[in-house]
């Protein structure tokens, strides 16, 4: 047999037995593997090792018994347009409305991953507690936590609404909405104040930010608080916290992501020049993604020459980059 024919035969005929069950099992194994400590160099075994081994064995027996409980998790849902939902064990996802122009489901407890087929004339809505997530075409995950709801976008964009407040999330972004914020949201709405009015408050500079935050706040906590602020529609507070993170923890690994997020928030507020400055402060980080965003932000700010310079720089630095084609016109 000719090698080309053999390769074609394998390509056409050999397909991996892969399904959602296997994917979910693999995902669990990978996350479990990551939670374990990396393997250490082998040392001489002490008697304690045997004690630990016995404990692990007992634990495994318990785990096996737990795994074979009769309550099986809900199977995945698949809709006629190809959209699908994969709930984790102990998660309920119930379709409330399935029509040509709208699909609406309610999720309660646990987590579920959504793959939504893009459709211009059909909206896809997920309701979790008081949170409403509206999608055009994307993949995302919702975790209904004990006292919060987390929305994580894998691809595309979603609009997350609670009460009168709305936040748009892009790919790779995550939002944590704590239940206790409900009271604040309801109060703001009933008092007649615009929930997004705080967006018009001028930015605090870094000095003010440092003065109001104790210096011992960790970078992780600041990042989380900034997330919360975004969820509450308070982009000014989110920016302040992210600036504080950059100032107080300049060597932390989250700094670049914080600067990038500041750029995203500023762009959402139509402050394109500020957004560009934030993206530019990331340099060539994130495989040039920040540079590409800086070019687009400068263009949106009407600063054509800077936009062109960034676009050209990106195309020189990342000739195989994913934004190469998108920036072609700007670079001309």
């Amino acid at each position: 047999m000719r090698p080309d024919d053999a390769a074609r035969l394998i390509g056409e005929q050999v397909s991996v037995p892969w399904d959602e069950f296997r994917a979910a099992r693999g995902q669990k194994r990978v996350l479990g593997g990551l939670r374990k400590r990396p393997p250490q160099p082998r040392r001489a075994r002490s008697p304690l090792v045997w004690v630990a081994a016995a404990a692990v064995l007992i634990g495994l027996v318990g785990l096996l018994r737990f795994s074979f409980r009769p309550n099986s998790p809900q199977a995945g849902l698949e809709f006629g347009d190809g959209s699908s939902v994969l709930p984790d064990a102990h998660t309920r996802v119930v379709p409330e409305l399935v029509a040509a122009d709208k699909i609406q489901v309610r999720q309660s407890g646990g987590s579920a991953t959504y793959e939504v087929t893009p459709h211009p004339h059909r909206s896809f809505v997920v309701r979790v507690k008081e949170v409403r997530v509206e999608v055009i075409g994307t993949a995302f995950r919702i975790d209904d936590l004990e006292a919060a709801v987390r929305v994580t976008v894998q691809r595309g964009r979603v609009r997350v609404t609670r009460g009168a407040r709305t936040v748009i999330l892009g790919a790779g972004e995550s939002l944590l909405l704590r239940d206790r914020d409900d009271e604040v949201a309801v109060h703001a709405a009933s008092s007649g104040a615009s929930p997004l009015a705080s967006d018009s408050i001028p930015l605090l500079d870094l000095t003010d930010a440092a003065a109001t935050e104790p210096p011992e706040t960790s970078a992780a906590e600041l990042f989380r608080s900034a997330d919360d602020a975004r969820a509450a529609g308070n982009s000014v507070e989110a920016l302040r916290l992210l600036k504080l993170l950059v100032q107080q923890h300049p060597l932390d690994r989250r700094v670049t992501l914080a600067r990038f997020t500041m750029g995203r928030i500023e762009a959402q507020r139509d402050n394109f020049a500020e957004a560009a400055r934030a993206f530019e402060s990331c340099g060539n980080a994130l495989s040039g993604e920040a540079l590409a965003e800086a070019a687009l932000a400068r263009a949106a700010a009407g600063q054509a020459s800077e936009a062109k310079a960034h676009a050209k720089h990106y195309r020189e630095q990342f000739p195989g980059g994913p934004r190469y084609r998108e920036l072609a016109k700007l670079a001309e």
């Binding site: 047999m1 000719r2 090698p3 080309d4 024919d5 053999a6 390769a7 035969l9 394998i10 390509g11 056409e12 005929q13 050999v14 397909s15 991996v16 037995p17 892969w18 399904d19 959602e20 296997r22 994917a23 099992r25 693999g26 995902q27 194994r29 990978v30 996350l31 593997g33 990551l34 990396p38 199977a75 995945g76 698949e78 699908s84 994969l86 991953t113 993949a139 995950r141 987390r150 994580t152 894998q154 691809r155 595309g156 892009g170 790919a171 790779g172 972004e173 995550s174 690994r253 989250r254 670049t256 992501l257 990038f260 994130l286 495989s287 993604e289 980059g321 994913p322 934004r323």
Partner: protein, 184 residues
């Protein structure tokens, strides 16, 4: 609900923020990256091994190793290629073990990939029997280049061999396939 391994999962640019978040230890980002790339990596492993037995282990090891060393990945949009390189190392270790075992007992080497068309099952199995007789590194390079369509320089990078060596490996397997009794 069966997910096609060939499903297009979005542009590579979508990986960039996910990788950045995964470097900070974000489990959601790990999950998203796994969901995007596991079907492809699984298919690759399966086609090289020709069997299902070690697939789950290699897949797990690939992603755990890959995620633990993510900080070393300088071009975030190239994560798929990065995972392929790790998977290749893992597959090589397994195949080398099988290759040694073969000398002790032929029965342990049996491969039986799932074949879509039952009429072609015997041909595909004969093909994998022939591939089972070649050096594991040659087999990996051949599948990456001939079946998965990677260029020879890409295969050289993934197998950490020189371009000339990879060309020699692929040519050697071409010869074995031509000489095999697999006929369509």
């Amino acid at each position: 609900m069966v997910v096609s391994p060939l499903r297009v999962v979005g542009p590579a640019s979508a990986d960039v923020p996910l990788v950045a978040s995964a470097i900070t230890g974000d489990e959601q980002a790990y999950t998203a990256l796994y969901r995007r790339h596991a079907p492809y990596i699984a298919r690759l492993i399966y086609r090289i091994l020709g069997s299902d037995s070690d697939l789950d282990d290699i897949l797990q090891e690939t992603f755990v190793d890959g995620f633990r060393q993510l900080e070393a990945l300088t071009e975030h949009h190239k994560i798929r290629s990065y995972l392929v390189t790790i998977a290749v190392r893992r597959i090589h270790a397994r195949l080398s073990f099988r290759y040694r075992v073969r000398k002790l007992g032929q029965q342990l080497l049996g491969t039986s990939p799932r074949v879509s068309d039952p009429e072609l099952r015997a041909t595909v199995h004969a093909l994998y029997a022939a591939l089972g007789r070649v050096d594991p590194r040659h087999r990996i390079a051949w599948v990456l280049h001939r079946v998965e369509g990677y260029t020879l320089p890409e295969v050289a990078q993934q197998t950490t061999a020189s371009l000339a060596t990879v060309k020699r490996w692929v040519a050697a397997v071409d010869q074995v396939v031509e000489d095999s009794n697999a006929t369509r």
